[in-house]
Amino acid sequence: MQVTVHIPTILRPLTENQKRLTITGFSVLEVIEHMEERYPGIKEKLITGGKAHHFINIYVNDDDIRFTDGLSTSLSDGDSLTILPAVAGGAEPALLHT
């Protein structure tokens, strides 16, 4: 499956400044593994302990993968995979662990 990956500014130094990448893979994890082969270092920016970082949102089309099958979420040809940082206001939440 060939999908378009939208890269946030913060990760573009790792992708030779490319905003969009065309990557193949049957799942989100596979796409990330394939990106890692081409752009070493990107995987650790997205994944920790087998899960996406809590401050990173990954969407397949409009769906947050945490509410589908996480990194195992399957992909179809032409899907769009968007990586976005989370956002909030206020002080740091009491529930956030150090």
């Binding site: 500014t9 913060i10 990760l11 976005l84 206020g90 002080a91 740091e92 529930l95 956030l96």
Partner: protein
């Protein structure tokens, strides 16, 4: 209770200020009183163009603090709180969630203006003590209002992704807060998808729908809209508040009912917070000298160094304000940089919203969780004047970067905490399980309910009002502590919070409740309405009958204000011209009015706001202060 400015005073015609400035004066007097200042209020002289007062310390010549309506001094049009909210886009952002521009129902711009005006006087005094020749500090209501819009204006004016989500674009039937089966209004909060997912699963909502809701839920901080799927509202409305609370406890979701200011006033700490003012000062170390290092530039805090370890809005805005006053702000970010740098829309190579709050700072990437990182922070702090953080309660102790730790490193340090709740102690939080975010603080403090009563909605604003005011209060507290250090050779810890900012915003309400029961609120205007016109909308406010008569004359309308249907008649009359045309006519007639800004990108085209804005990759809001 520590009163850091007990040796200082404000003097000026504050007894009967022009109506435009009355709410500013009220907040100014409250803040000055809380700081222990002597207040010498005289009768108003005839000058209604500006509000002027003097800020005095025993060690400086008086600073004249001028407050004007607009940044452009040639524009003298009379204003009110609501007219300013209309003219500077606050009504638009607040109205996005409900689908129509409307006022907040709070003296928000006035409170911000008062805080900035007082901070101008304090900062200029620090400048004098550090060798700067300065005797005047100027702010305008418009610059205060636009400061609160900085992030939203940034989001609306980048070329990459033009955000024109004015109220007209997003009418959504189901709005926050949620309502339970037994009629309790409440906010939910989590900054992690896990609790959200578990919570809605227990409520019986599918993961796919919960996921769509999560995306919308996160959006509300940046865009002031939250188009949650209707399924969430309908599912939760079948369950009692008690059961929802139990599900929250099981799933890690935070919940807070929408309380009234009366409820808040009954809280154990409430009266103390109101009497103390929005800052808590702890003075401990007497220094040999107050480190009044000389000013290195023409701004009052130039040559001073601030170390900031903050995320999101409140803390970074406080650091931004100190940078605008001339301080060198070194911002600590996690290795790899703050993830919010890439929050769209992007201007150049950085999130426009992020840049709006952080563009004047130097960045140091430090892993504060590691011992090496903590040592690096301490090394930075050794040479700094201020350390500012907004970590979760209890985290500073865990990181070995609490007040005691850093005071040992640098005894003259001003240690500042800009939190969500009134304290950084987990034991004394109103609820240590509630994240200290804007919308939770609005619900808990009574602000949300007050807004709802005015806006005809159920809850607070998705415009992050407390984050912004909290940021201003934090910067103000730091500046006050710096002045106290210069004058009295004392270092300090200063704590402020979203909750204390909420108390400041409703100080008059608390006064009514605690000291003058039954005094009621200020008198209502005869006309305070947004009218549709041939093109655009216009906000009009007539505080008294005389102004209403002038309005009728200006409209050329044979309207008898005393008759019941005069509002309907006015609505028809306004349809005959454009909002721009009416604004010119009403300004000439001396009727407070303004074209309602619906698309924030329009702000940069308004001539009278030009001095306050700088165009570029996105439109930047300039410093609210100018010093002479």
């Amino acid at each position: 209770m520590n009163r850091p400015l007990a040796s200082c005073a404000i003097t000026g015609p504050l007894k009967s200020a022009a109506p435009d400035y009355a709410a500013i004066v009220s907040s100014l007097l409250y803040q000055s009183g809380a700081l222990g200042m002597k207040i010498d209020a005289t009768e108003n002289c005839s000058n209604n163009a500006a509000l002027s007062f003097e800020f005095k310390t025993p060690h400086t010549t008086p600073i004249t603090c001028n407050v004007t309506r607009w940044g452009d001094s040639s524009k003298q049009a009379s204003v009110t709180e609501n007219i300013m909210q209309a003219a500077c886009g606050l009504m638009s952002v607040h109205g996005r969630a409900s689908g129509k521009s409307q006022p907040l129902g709070l003296n928000y711009v006035s409170t911000l203006t008062a805080a900035l005006a007082l901070q101008g006087g304090v900062s200029a005094s620090i400048g004098q003590l550090r060798g700067l020749s300065v005797s005047n500090s100027n702010v305008s209501m418009a610059s205060a209002a636009l400061l609160s819009m900085g992030q939203y204006i940034a989001g609306a004016t980048t070329s990459e992704s033009h955000e024109s989500s004015g109220p007209r674009h997003v009418p959504h039937p189901a709005c926050l807060p949620f309502i339970s089966l037994d009629g309790v209004l409440f906010e939910l909060e989590t900054l992690d998808a896990g609790p959200w997912q578990k919570f809605w699963s227990e409520i019986g909502v599918s993961s796919a729908v919960a996921g769509k809701g999560w995306t919308a839920f996160l959006l509300r901080y940046a865009k002031a809209i939250s188009p949650l799927p209707d399924e969430l509202f309908s599912a939760i409305s079948n369950i009692t508040y008690h059961r929802i609370s139990q599900i929250c406890a099981r799933t890690g979701m935070a919940i807070c009912p929408v309380r009234s200011i009366n409820d808040r006033a009954q809280d154990e700490d409430s009266r103390h917070v109101w009497l103390q003012g929005p800052w808590e000062f702890l003075f401990e170390t007497r220094l040999k000298d107050g480190r009044s290092s000389p000013s290195t530039d023409n701004l009052p805090l130039s040559g001073l160094t601030v170390i900031e370890s903050c995320r999101r809005i409140q803390g970074p805005l406080a650091g931004h304000l100190l940078a605008l006053l001339g301080a060198e702000v070194i911002r600590i970010e996690p290795p790899g940089g703050d993830p919010l740098r890439s929050m769209p829309p992007i201007a150049g190579d950085c999130s426009a919203r992020f840049d709006a709050l952080n563009r004047f700072k130097t960045i140091r990437e430090v892993d504060i969780k590691s011992l090496a990182g903590q040592a690096e922070v301490k090394e930075l702090v050794q040479r700094a004047d201020v350390f500012l953080h907004n970590w979760a309660p209890g985290k500073a102790v865990l990181l070995n970067l609490d007040h005691e730790d850093l005071a040992a490193t640098n005894p003259s340090l001003i240690y500042a905490y800009a939190g969500g709740w009134a304290t950084d102690s987990t034991a004394h939080s109103p609820s240590s399980q509630m994240p200290g975010t804007d919308f939770m603080a609005q619900a808990y403090s009574g602000i949300a309910k007050k807004i709802a009563e005015t806006s005809g909605t159920h809850g607070g604003s998705l415009f992050t009002i407390l984050d912004v005011l909290g940021g201003v209060v934090a910067a103000q507290g730091i500046t006050i502590a710096l002045l106290n250090r210069c004058m009295n050779n004392m270092s300090a810890k200063v704590t402020s919070s979203l909750m204390s900012a909420a108390t400041l915003l409703c100080a008059d309400d608390f006064q009514s409740l605690y000291e003058l029961p039954g005094s009621g609120s200020a008198s209502k205007s005869i006309i305070d309405t947004i009218y549709a016109t041939k093109q655009g909308k216009i906000a009009v406010e007539c505080r008294d009958l005389k102004t209403a008569v002038r309005l009728a004359e200006a409209l050329g309308a044979a309207i008898v204000i005393e008759e019941d249907n005069f509002q309907d008649c006015l609505s028809d009359w306004f349809l005959s011209r454009t909002a721009d045309e009416w604004a010119g006519i009403l300004e000439h007639a001396g009727v407070p009015s303004a074209v309602v800004i619906e698309d924030l990108a329009d702000l940069q085209t308004m001539a009278h706001l030009q001095p306050t804005l700088t165009p570029g990759a996105y439109t930047k809001v300039n410093s609210p202060w100018s010093f002479k």
